[in-house]
């Protein structure tokens, strides 16, 4: 039965996808191919759409595959299944967290994890931004439009900070970047 298959398939994805959306993509590919729901080409297209629409990539993909396979109910079931494991795991951790945080060994582990995550976020930001602006190391290609957009965005952030003495909201920054994309790439 397709509903049960969707539920079990995406439950598995939700359960084993550590480290965010990009890590989950290969897991989703395995599950989707195992069940033979859609072909490789369609999946590649769905991944591209999931990356270009708002929200967590995993949720987007679950909704997309579910809806393609079994309409609204399929989308609902797949999305619920992909979210459920993290939801309950976090609830359990929250219940234990207060006492865990008092433990000095847990503190020592956190003392390594926190700076590590900061390093990972920093590296991801640098890599993504340079990738968009200058292409990859093997194939450097200066992307003039992207550099213009980056200039507009940085100027907006600095200008707003200077004029309003407040940080520009990240949401506004995303809106500006979309408009800048339409204008700069459109002309």
């Amino acid at each position: 039965m397709i509903y049960l298959e969707l539920f079990l398939g995406f439950l598995k994805v939700g359960f084993f996808s550590f480290g965010g959306g990009y890590a989950a993509i290969s897991l989703i590919r395995d599950v989707v191919m195992d069940y033979g729901w859609i072909d490789e080409e369609m999946l590649a297209y769905m991944i591209a759409v999931s990356e270009s629409t708002p929200g967590p990539i995993m949720v987007n993909l679950a909704t997309y595959v579910g809806s393609q396979q079994a309409g609204f109910l399929g989308a609902l079931i797949a999305t619920t299944a992909v979210i459920m494991p993290s939801f309950f795991i976090i609830l359990i951790i929250m219940a234990l967290l207060k006492s865990l945080l008092k433990n000095k060994y847990v503190q020592a582990v956190l003392g390594g994890l926190k700076p590590c995550i900061i390093g990972i976020v920093l590296a991801t930001g640098i890599f993504m931004l340079f990738g968009t602006l200058l292409g990859s190391i093997g194939a450097i290609k200066v992307n003039v439009q992207a550099i213009i957009i980056a200039g507009i965005l940085v100027a907006s952030m600095v200008g707003y900070q200077y004029a309003a003495k407040k940080k520009l909201s990240p949401i506004i920054l995303i809106v500006i970047s979309a408009v800048a994309g339409i204008v700069v790439y459109g002309v």
């Binding site: 929200g55 967590p56 609204f72 993290s86 582990v109 390594g112 930001g125 602006l133 980056a150 949401i171």
Partner: protein, 192 residues
């Protein structure tokens, strides 16, 4: 405003404007949950990221569940998670029903090229802010720099090494240093 409604609307807004995966969302969550609503502190935010990164599932969902539970228990967790998922669900569902060639629409493709630049800046900005606020102890700074350099190398050379394995190494190194330094005999953690 009712806290449940507030949680729902705030996380729906975060869900609607998060492009390009979990890290891009850090800036938006920080802006809303830490700076504006003061639901969680900076320190809780970094604890939350550790929990989100080391547990399965979308980081955004983990963060919504965490904040929702903290503010209003089980119902809060449920409502915040729902709020986070609803915008993606609606957008994707409409696309899958009505738009077969979504990515070929020029205006959308162009907007997304712009958003990609914005997302890069947001993630870099989130990283820089976290560095500014992190503990300046030698050990933490060294782990941060090593992780950053290693992750850059992994990305650039497309090595098959996941962020989660790197986190395991960082946790192990930190724990071993703690035990060697005799910290186990002292009261409280080294981070105090």
């Amino acid at each position: 405003m009712n806290i449940l409604l507030d949680l729902f609307l705030t996380f729906a807004k975060i869900g609607l404007f998060t492009f390009g995966g979990g890290y891009a969302m850090i800036s938006i969550i920080e802006n809303h949950c830490v700076e504006r609503k003061k639901w969680i502190s900076h320190d809780e935010m970094s604890n939350m990221l550790v929990v989100a990164e080391s547990t399965p599932g979308p980081i955004a969902v983990n963060c919504a569940t965490y904040t929702g539970y903290k503010m209003a228990g089980f119902m809060g967790a449920l409502i915040a998670t729902l709020g986070m998922a609803v915008p993606s669900f609606v957008v994707i569902f409409l696309i899958s029903m009505f738009l077969d060639n979504f990515l070929e629409i020029t205006i959308i493709a162009n907007a997304f090229k712009g958003i990609k630049v914005g997302v890069g800046i947001l993630i870099l900005n989130a990283g820089i802010n976290m560095v500014k606020k992190m503990s300046k102890k030698k050990k933490a700074v060294i782990i941060m720099i090593c992780s950053c350099v290693a992750m850059l190398a992994i990305n650039i050379f497309a090595w098959n090494f996941s962020a989660i394995s790197m986190m395991l190494i960082a946790a192990a190194v930190s724990l071993i240093l703690f035990i060697i330094s005799g910290g186990a005999k002292q009261k409280g953690g080294e981070e105090e």
